[in-house]
């Protein structure tokens, strides 16, 4: 029995070393869903996807400046900008898996009409809103460079955390999780993981309740502890959904703010540096 400790949390695992503990958990994950390898790959690739997205957007913004300098008409530039931005979005969707891409493309069709986020559809939409035809190109250019600061920041700073988060998601995730993670800012990643565990596990006394139990008994609340709890919970089967995941997060959030809850549960008084240390 070895203990993997990360960020102040302890979790007993039936393995002789930390590395084997990690492998053990990943094997369980793969076995539980039968799609573990693909999801593992997805979890590891998300930070790269985010970084690539940031790169493409920055290059797009620079290209837009260059196009303006070339003296093209506003309509020509707007058409190029809309098409380019849509291409980037579609490229990112493809990287999240076929299911995600289909769902997201359908959203576009639902929102913008047949053809999705095309220049013509966006133009129609703006005119319907009351934008003068002469103003449409300027409005579309503005929309195309709409800031994406949170994604950009998270792509840089969040990578380390996301690697752990990705592993946690490995256990129970489906492709829906990938696109949620893609745009989750750094400070929301842990919450996203909780929600997705609750919502996607489909299982049971599942991810959701499994994690809930972990919180209640103070075994662990994030990182590897969360992963293991997800595995235990997910294996049990059941119908608890994302509601459970959300509640679990709220419980934890409350726990963090209110040490009385900790005391009631028999925990030591809350201390961020010792947060959710395993009970003896």
């Amino acid at each position: 029995m070895d203990y993997i400790e990360e960020q102040g949390m302890c979790l007993p695992l039936p393995t002789p070393s930390a590395d084997e503990g990690i492998e053990f958990l990943e094997n369980i994950a793969a076995g539980n869903l039968g799609a573990g390898l693909r999801i593992t790959s997805q979890g590891k690739s998300i930070p790269q996807i985010r970084a690539e997205y940031k790169f493409l957007i920055e290059r797009f913004e620079q290209d837009l400046i260059n196009k303006k300098a070339m003296g093209l008409s506003p309509k020509e530039i707007a058409r190029w900008a809309v098409n380019e931005r849509t291409s980037i979005a579609k490229l990112m969707r493809r990287k999240q898996g076929l299911e995600a891409k289909i769902i997201l493309d359908l959203r576009d069709v639902n929102k913008y009409g047949l053809g999705g986020r095309s220049y013509e559809n966006l133009e129609k939409r703006l005119i319907t809103k009351g934008v003068a035809a002469s103003e449409v190109p300027n409005e579309l250019m503005k929309g195309a460079v709409k800031p994406n600061k949170a994604v950009s920041d998270a792509a840089i700073k969040g990578a380390a955390f996301l690697q752990n988060g990705g592993r946690a998601v490995i256990v129970i995730s489906i492709s829906a999780t990938a696109y949620t993670l893609l745009t989750a800012p750094e400070n929301k990643l842990e919450q996203v993981i909780y929600e997705e565990i609750g919502g996607v596990a489909g299982g049971a006394v599942g991810g959701g309740l499994g994690v809930g139990l972990c919180v209640a008994f103070g075994i662990a609340t994030s990182g590897w502890g969360l992963l293991a709890c997800g595995v235990v919970g997910g294996g049990a089967g059941g119908l608890l959904g994302a509601e459970a995941g959300s509640k679990v997060y709220l419980v934890k959030d409350e726990y963090m703010r209110n040490s009385a809850i900790v005391n009631n549960g028999g925990f030591e008084e809350y201390n961020p540096s010792k947060f959710m240390r395993a009970l003896p």
Binding site: R85, L104, K129, N148, Y179, L182, P185, K188
Partner: protein, 133 residues
């Protein structure tokens, strides 16, 4: 008819349900221009939150573009506008469309609801309203 309108010293919001709210501009604390979601997820939209001392108005750009343009062009509001991003849609928003959802609904909310969104906002200090709306 539902929508936002303004007079010299006041704003009025009419909902389709017939409910309406009339607020003095003196009670207006901030106007948030929220860039919600991402084009990658196809859940992007722009929504305005008018934050008064005692209530919030949710005014989506998709249905109120023209009235927002008219109201925001007026001098008294210029310094009150805060541009912010909600890049990741919180779970409750995605599922319940509680306050904004993927596409906000015109609504009047109690001021206490603001605490449910303020933690989700990334204030974009380097963005002006003119650059995004």
């Amino acid at each position: 008819m539902e929508g936002l309108s303004s007079s010299k010293d006041a704003l009025t919001l009419h909902l389709s349900s017939g409910k309406a709210s009339h607020q003095e501009i003196a009670n207006l604390e901030n106007i948030y221009c929220l860039l919600v979601g991402s084009d990658v997820q196809s859940n992007d939209s722009i929504c305005f939150i008018f934050k008064f001392k005692n209530e919030l108005w949710v005014v989506p750009e998709s249905s109120q573009y023209r009235s927002l343009k008219e109201v925001l062009a007026k001098e008294p509001y210029n310094g009150m506008v805060v541009v912010a991003q909600v890049d990741y849609l919180p779970f409750t928003w995605r599922r319940n469309k509680f306050l904004l959802g993927m596409e906000g609904n015109l609504a009047i909310k109690d001021i206490s609801k603001f605490s449910e969104i303020e933690d989700e906002l990334t204030i974009l200090n380097d963005c002006s309203l003119d650059s995004v709306f």
